[in-house]
Symmetry: C2
């Protein structure tokens, strides 16, 4: 097993060639982020990911997080690695500069997040949750809350968590029962139990800042009565020092299929009279605030999928290059060859590679829109980018994570029997990946969000703006002699996508149950075609670069590989569009029949 190596060339290609860095430079606060700065941050992060986080990935999985009388111990070496992470300032990358953050564009911090996840997803979850906590307190917390918590959360000295789920309230947060009794001065005493709390308790930081959904006594039933609270593990004194232990305790941690080094906690609030809680924003608007964080968290989970896919791919490629087995297909006798020569192994590796690159490029596009939606000086541009981001976040979350499970599984398959042996390390990627289509909203939830709020609500306008760009690219491809073979599969897929969008928009209000049967197929269809759009953009850019004079042979080979990767995707992935569209348009009858299950 080799340590994770960040795909720097691919990442820099996306940042330099595919992303509108000029746009980012125009956004307030990003003016000093040049390509050179970006490159050097990526290079440093790659070293940290490869040298510090990656070596702890398997040992952390083996040892797991351990619960002892309410304390949670992380695996050997994790405390030290986390301390270095904080000391080197990695926690603060995407955080606001006024609280000590580095305020990098999201597209750049997302690439670095991909590295943390590729190297060690169980580790990466801790700073990911802290960032969500920062977002919520920054956007909706009072000045007092911000002053008290943000600097330490941004630096990573303290960690954050998200407390949504209760045994009876998983996907359905309206069922949340945790109760908060006001004690004056914006303070409350909180009582309740939360489950599935990632890094709900651990030994990496001195304090843990829990964001908790609960109901103020007397609040309305359902989602309209949910408020958001900050509950620190240790109360914070006026001078910022740590005060007494708060009434929140870890009852147990889960024994999970994967991400075993990250503790998944049952947290009891108020077993001894009530946990001291501070309100974020206004009462009864907790769900709204949580969704701000959740959007960011969903995007981040999509990035987990990309990181895991990249890790699985590079392990499989390395094995396929080194494992000698059988002679060349169709050649009798002859020397045995590395299995990377075998057509089916190449097919599997290229499914892994092409989809991973498609996901990365699509996520990068969404990241630019996330920043522009927040920061662009012109309102109509903010709105346009918000629509793109809103449309793409469920796709980045749902499609990238579903793909990561398949890609990690393909990685095992490339290894054959050896892949099934835990020492090889690649089985862990599948175990780790398997949670990603579940947490922060299952793929089904993402897909319902997509068809309802993102497609039907605006009559498909945002999606049509995207498909119009796809069509323009298809025309450009058809006009490029070298790329023309890639155009028909893409154009065909766009037709299927448009047909499916039209069906969803036209029928959602009329028959939401029928349309919902096609929700996940719709999400996958949009992911596949939008990912193809980005890969084919990469091919077109590569074609232009190759045709320009003065490039090196290495560059030419890099660009040629980009074109062939897109070609593979056009021939193996885009043709799935027709089947998915069929399911969307015609798949309801059998699924909704009352007697069939």
């Amino acid at each position: 097993m080799q340590d994770y190596q960040a795909p720097l060339a691919d990442m820099k290609f996306v940042l330099r060639e595919m992303v509108d860095f000029g746009l980012l430079a125009e956004l307030p606060g990003f003016g000093d982020v040049s390509h050179d700065v970006a490159d050097s941050v990526l290079d440093e992060a790659a070293k940290f990911a490869g040298a510090v986080l990656s070596p702890l990935n398997r040992s952390g999985d083996l040892q797991g997080a351990r619960w002892r009388d309410g304390q949670v111990l992380t695996a050997d070496g994790w405390k030290q690695a986390y301390a270095r992470f904080v000391a080197d300032g990695w926690g603060a990358l995407a955080c606001p500069s006024e609280f000590g953050g580095q305020n990098l564009p999201r597209v750049l911090s997302a690439m670095i997040e991909e590295m943390w996840n590729g190297a060690n997803v169980a580790f990466a979850l801790c700073p990911m949750l802290s960032r969500g906590t920062v977002d919520a307190i920054e956007l909706r917390g009072s000045k007092a809350l911000q002053d008290k918590y943000l600097a330490k959360l941004v630096s990573g000295e303290w960690a954050g968590t998200m407390n949504l789920t209760e045994p009876q309230a998983g996907t359905d947060l309206s069922a949340v029962r945790t109760r908060a009794v006001p004690t004056g001065g914006g303070r409350y005493l909180l009582t309740g139990q939360k489950i599935f709390i990632t890094y709900g308790e651990h030994d990496l930081t001195d304090n843990i800042v829990h964001l908790v959904l609960g109901r103020v006594a007397g609040a309305p039933e359902g989602v309209k009565g949910i408020s958001l609270f900050v509950v620190p593990k240790f109360l914070v004194n006026g001078d910022g020092s740590l005060g007494k232990r708060n009434d929140v305790h870890c009852l147990s941690i889960e024994h999970k299929l994967g991400i075993r080094a990250s503790p998944t906690c049952v947290l009891a609030y108020g077993q001894n009279g009530g946990a001291v809680a501070e309100l974020v924003g206004e009462e009864n608007r907790g769900l709204e605030y949580m969704f701000i964080m959740m959007n960011a968290a969903r995007y981040s989970v999509g990035i987990e999928g990309i990181g895991l896919s990249q890790r699985a791919y590079q392990a499989a490629l390395a094995y396929a290059r080194e494992r000698i087995q059988s002679t060349e297909a169709g050649v009798r006798g002859g020397a045995r060859v590395p299995i990377v020569r075998h057509p089916d192994v190449r097919r599997m590796l290229l499914l892994m590679k092409s989809q991973t690159e498609a996901m990365r490029a699509l996520a990068a596009m969404a990241a630019v829109s996330l920043d522009a939606a927040r920061l662009h000086p012109r309102a109509e541009e903010r709105e346009r980018h918000q629509a793109i981001a809103d449309l793409m976040i469920p796709v980045v979350k749902g499609w990238c994570t579903e793909n990561s499970v398949e890609i990690a599984s393909l990685g095992i398959q490339v290894h054959g029997g050896v892949g099934f042996i835990e020492e090889t390390g690649v089985a862990q990627y599948l175990r780790d990946a398997r949670i990603t289509p579940i947490y922060e909203g299952t793929t089904g939830i993402q897909a319902n969000d997509l068809i309802g709020r993102k497609l039907a609500r605006d009559g498909g306008r945002a999606a049509q703006a995207v498909t119009a760009q796809m069509r323009a690219l298809a025309n450009e491809l058809a006009a490029e002699r070298n790329l023309a073979p890639l155009a028909p599969a893409f154009s065909g897929a766009i037709v299927e996508l448009e047909r499916a969008i039209r069906y969803v928009v036209d029928n959602y209000a009329k028959d939401v149950r029928a349309v919902s049967v096609g929700a996940v197929p719709m999400l996958k269809l949009l992911g596949i075609v939008a990912g193809g759009w980005q890969l084919l953009r990469a091919a077109l850019i590569s074609q232009v670069r190759m045709s320009a004079p003065g490039g090196s042979a290495a560059d030419a080979a890099f660009y040629a590989a980009k074109i062939m990767t897109a070609r593979f995707y056009a021939d193996h992935v885009l043709p799935q569009a027709g089947g998915l569209a069929h399911s969307i348009l015609h798949g309801a009858v059998g699924a909704l029949d009352e007697g069939v299950l």
Copy 2:
């Protein structure tokens, strides 16, 4: 977690309504197998699977097999369960009656095998390997070998193993290095190391009979110099009693992603001078003999995939019926409902259900052909059935096992976060399933077998005989008013299948590398369409039964569900055919490009 419940109604439907039992009754030896006998054997097996094997599935996974100084201990309770398995005569079901077997038709023993695998796949591996050993010795062993080993192997008092793989010889058996030196009288001394030997050592039986591939000193290089040997753990005296310990020892067992209760062994032969080995059949024909067993083993691994899929489905369905979450889609307010009401959950459950039923019916068809190919009195019928069995075995193996991984993964998804917790038990199904597309020949190997030996070699004749039957069914469906909506998707899929077969047949000799890129897509395409063929046959049969007078309401509901299950498959699975055909016909350029990887 509930214990496994064999899908008796579905199994009996396949046996009573879909399988040509009349044909089986005509085959010598099967005359006394009536539907009533079959039903009562199934009922008894279902009890054993549910009450004895299923409760050991998770505890076996948790405890695992343990290695101690060359001994392997199975998990608590496994010895007792195996003893009951032997005492009840379950090991002997499909074995020849002259050695104490019950000589059941393969289609019936396959249903029972599905139960063992659904209940506890790690347990089921032991008798599965014994059966392979019985087959090889019965078909190619001398009378002396048969007399010495078969009765005990058939009863299950002794267990068997298959020893093919060595570190440098996984898929490529021509690289086998294990050496055999003749010592006279058909005896040899064997030296070498074998890896990945399932149940290579354990405490379930008094003796273990290893079938081992090796080379007689001086044999040709490559596959033409491989011989097959029997190497017992304990030598067998003339009176059948156990003699001295043979020179074969278990060096270690693997730590695996799944099937953890079944020991996967490294076996050293001849560390102390040589393991006493007896030749099976003739020297240098070992690979040929092994392939006889391998065909049977491949079919059995396909059945593992079906059993695991069924188990995952029933766990997911039970959870979806009991888990209350959110209100009905499109209904504001209202009561919370079981998640089985939610459209996307139904879609997932029906993907699981419809594909599992398709696989079971297809495997049953192949099983009938396996028997008829061996036993039919008329040579042309034997040949016809052999062609069907040859064509379908790689599909049953490859398609059913690939599906089982996806279906087990869907089972986790239906459970949401709870599915990721090991205590729930459904994560184990994915871990267990993940080996099935690998061992006994990876999906890539099955697919190469399909396109080369099964499609190209006979110019597609066997496949065309099958597609002609499919077309006939499509016409019947189109003429049945109630079923006509199922016909277009099926007809469209047949067109894609025929197009792909033609392409493979026409191009295999010309460009084997290019065609091989589409090998796995071809296997999946044939699996999907052939599975659909069987499900639509089931729908047509159900339609006829429903239309007949005098049926009960329960029967009508059962048949109606069969029709709707087929409808779902037609709308969600068959439409994948077009994309697969596209990959087969157009997918080679990107995959085979030299610079792309």
